[in-house]
Symmetry: C2
């Protein structure tokens, strides 16, 4: 039994590169649509397989939303996310770390708390403005 070696793949590089150069937090489907511009016949399975690979190897992060959708992010710096209830976009938050809440959680807990997953939600700026101008969902 030889140790499996990871080989280079243009498709995987393309996925990674797209994620590193966008501020969006796209879903597997959106990534598929984007990478298809470069590799017109890449398959959705390849996208999913590589996303899993990249998550497993700590090269990207998977964000699981309240609504059940998964989004991906190549920004590995510790930061928090905001989910707009209106347009469902995920935005980065510029805020102080909140790791101290783990200590609060541990106070009366018997097991071991290793960390937390936190999402903030509400209405993003664009959707607020759109609402004022009678454009309910940020749709043009």
């Amino acid at each position: 039994m030889t140790t499996a070696v990871t080989k280079f793949s243009r498709q995987r590089e393309s996925i990674k590169e797209y994620l590193m150069n966008t501020k969006e937090h796209p879903t597997a489907d959106a990534i598929y649509a984007k990478v298809r511009e470069t590799f017109p016949n890449i398959s959705l399975g390849t996208v999913y397989r590589n996303l899993h690979f990249l998550v497993e190897h700590g090269e990207i992060i998977k964000l699981s939303c309240m609504d059940g959708s998964d989004h991906f992010d190549a920004d590995l710096s510790p930061h928090h996310h905001f989910v707009c209830k209106c347009c469902s976009r995920i935005l980065d938050l510029d805020m102080e770390p909140i790791e101290h809440i783990n200590t609060l959680a541990n106070a009366h807990f018997k097991g071991r708390i290793e960390g937390n997953v936190t999402y903030f939600y509400g209405i993003c700026e664009e959707c607020s403005l759109a609402a004022e101008h009678d454009t309910p969902n940020g749709q043009e």
Copy 2:
């Protein structure tokens, strides 16, 4: 057109009653299995419809886990949850509220933050103990 009135339903009551009397945080499937003991031919669709109904009407809460599974909870008091990486159970945490993190998040944010969803994760007490006794997953 008369105003739609919500009629009584034994099935819905049964779902609600089960949720109110358990400390577990069951999934739709687990609820289906349980309620079927009372209503052998209730359909899964009915379970899903009623769970949505109850969530919509604020009678129960939906917990969307990192792993994509949805769990339900009839305990409406403000409290936080712990997800065990080992056995995937959800446990209630006895801790101080952490609403102040919304203020931190709002500091440099243009939109409106309405709240946050936070899950703590780690290894629960039972799984830790099981590991010590060579019973990896808490399975008997």
